[in-house]
């Protein structure tokens, strides 16, 4: 399955999907040392975002979240790529500084299609982006271009 998207920060990444239908506050909501979501009552409370393809609608909360994204990368517990419904400045500048590929505006309802554990490849190039989804398996079947 291929889903077209919009490139915000260029790059390529692949890995296991982690899906949150709720917004994420990186500052306060994610532990910069471990990558574990610690917001009380968040559907992903206790789950690590490290090395995942992290899919969530948009950021919320503190504008310091950008520095948390940077710290996650420094501590090797950042997501490999981020997919948003609509990215906002806090997430974007964090991903630029941390070199994390970022795409938004997926052409299909990504929350209907992608489930936790699906294998995802994100290709974000200057003029095009896509999200390639392989249900619960590995990357071999996925093409390497959009």
């Amino acid at each position: 399955m291929k889903i077209k998207a919009r490139t915000i920060v260029e790059g390529r990444a692949e890995g296991e999907a982690l899906v949150s239908e709720n917004p994420i506050s990186f500052y306060g909501g994610v532990d910069p040392e471990t990558g574990i979501i610690r917001e009380k009552g968040h559907p992903l409370e206790g789950v690590s975002i490290a090395n995942k393809i992290l899919i969530f609608p948009y950021g919320k909360g503190s504008t310091v979240g950008s520095y948390v994204i940077l710290a996650l990368a420094k501590n090797n517990v950042a997501p490999r790529a981020i997919v948003n419904l609509e990215s906002e400045p806090i997430i974007i500048i964090g991903c630029i500084l941390a070199s994390i590929p970022l795409v938004d505006k997926p052409a299909k309802n990504i929350f209907d299609i992608v489930k936790n554990g699906d294998y995802i490849r994100v290709i974000a190039e200057k003029d095009s982006a896509c999200i390639l989804v392989s249900r619960g398996s590995v990357s071999e079947e996925l093409p390497s271009t959009c």
Binding site: P23, G28, K40, G61, S62, V64, Y67, A73, K74, L97
Partner: protein, 418 residues
């Protein structure tokens, strides 16, 4: 072979990253981008233009003011310090008046806050570096009380409560800039002309009503619930009952913590409502009624039923001079029996030493330059606390503290043994 990049901070990557050409640039902006105005300006221009391009901005907009969040070393850590070092090496300078958020401790009374020596040095380095780039060390999250802003001015502020105040109360225009983005925007004096800088994005999308007996409810809790339910966009609040600035600050700060909302249109308060009233068709807006259950649900996320606390905290956002006076007026003929800790701006302390001295003579602790969220209150002997700010309640709960959210008046009554 599918090439995959590893996330990680590499300043060289940013400098080499491609820039985009869908954004219309003036001659001077092109010079910035070409490197004719120095390396730091070039880097900042590349990033601001890149983000503008990604968000569909047609051009950049000159900004008149900037405010930067992410000052406490506790929040930005070594990677934040490295980032500032890189900017100084590139000889970065802010092009517009730029103030900064609270730091990790009171610059004068840090001894009383039991600050760790290593933290002390690191924090001072953060502040020194920002001053070197040209920041004014306001060290407060309420720049709207220190700076004169006017309706329609374009600014670049991070610090979510200040963004909401600037947009919703003053009618100045800023997006919710991430901390480092506000730095880049301040360096080139420009921001992408997108989001809340544009008229059409300042119109409401939903009409929100609170329960009728909402007067008994705390403004902080209503704001927190609003953000949690509405999540994004521009909500229009009908029958907004809070008129005191202290209540409005608590309300907006809470919205900022629980959502990505940067502008709330408050009936009879927000200046944009006057300007846009002809374009707002209330009956056509989606309606959201916030229920008592939803308010109780959001309370349960940030507040516990504590019978005993180590301290009571006020000052998120920083207390204004007027709020300090109100607190003093409430307490002046009472004995303060509990540990009460207040946070305000340095400027307020300097201009109102009289009130601060009188508060302190009652055993109340008054700190500037910092707050309960970005300092280390654990080192001040606090595990369980009461406060009136849903924003601080959210972040301190996440930091592992036990928190009870009360109204300011309740806090003052309990602290004075009433």
């Amino acid at each position: 072979m599918f090439f995959v990049q590893r996330p990680g901070y590499r300043a060289s990557d940013i400098s080499q990253s491609r820039f985009y050409d869908n954004v219309f640039l003036t001659k001077i902006e092109e010079k910035m981008l070409n490197g004719e105005m120095g390396e730091a300006v070039q880097l900042a221009a590349r990033i601001v233009v890149k983000i503008g391009d990604a968000l569909g901005a047609e051009r950049l907009v000159p900004i008149e003011d900037a405010h930067i969040s992410g000052i406490s070393f506790k929040n930005i850590g070594e990677s934040g310090l490295d980032f500032l070092k890189m900017l100084i090496e590139k000889e970065a300078k802010f092009a517009v008046p730029t103030t900064i958020n609270p730091a990790g401790f009171d610059l004068k009374k840090w001894g009383k806050m039991n600050v760790d020596k290593k933290f002390l040095d690191k924090q001072r380095e953060v502040i020194d570096r920002l001053i070197k780039i040209g920041a004014k060390p306001l060290l407060s999250c309420t720049p709207y009380e220190a700076k004169r802003l006017s309706y329609g001015q374009h600014i670049a502020w991070s610090e979510s409560n200040a963004v909401l105040y600037a947009n919703s109360i003053i009618g100045a225009r800023t997006n919710r800039e991430g901390g480092p983005l506000a730095i880049f925007e301040a360096i080139i004096g420009r921001a992408p002309y997108t989001g809340l800088h544009l008229d059409e994005n300042r119109l409401p999308e939903v009409l929100v009503r609170f329960p009728k007996d909402g007067k008994a409810l705390s403004p902080a809790l209503l704001g927190y619930t609003l953000g949690f339910i509405v999540k994004k966009g521009v909500p229009y609040i009908e029958d907004f009952i809070f008129r005191k600035m202290s209540e409005i600050k608590l309300f907006l700060a809470a919205v900022g913590a629980s959502s990505s909302i940067g502008l709330v249109l408050l009936e009879d308060v927000s200046p944009d409502l006057k300007r846009f009233w002809k374009r707002i068709k209330k009956t056509e807006l989606e309606k959201i009624e916030i229920t008592e259950d939803e308010i109780e649900d959001s309370r349960s996320k940030i507040s516990k039923n504590l019978t005993k606390v180590d301290a009571f905290f006020l000052g998120c956002p920083h207390l204004s001079a007027r709020e300090l006076k109100e607190i003093y007026n409430f307490l002046h003929n009472k004995k303060v029996k509990e540990r009460l800790i207040l946070f305000t701006a340095r400027r307020v302390i300097e201009e109102h030493t009289n009130i601060v001295n009188r508060l302190e003579s009652k055993g109340i602790e008054v700190y500037a330059d910092t707050c309960m969220v970005v300092s280390d209150i654990g080192r001040m002997g606090v595990r369980r606390l009461a406060l009136d700010s849903a924003k601080a309640a959210y972040y301190l709960t996440a930091q592992g503290y036990e928190v009870v959210l009360l109204d300011r008046e309740e806090i003052l009554k309990i602290a004075s043994g009433g």
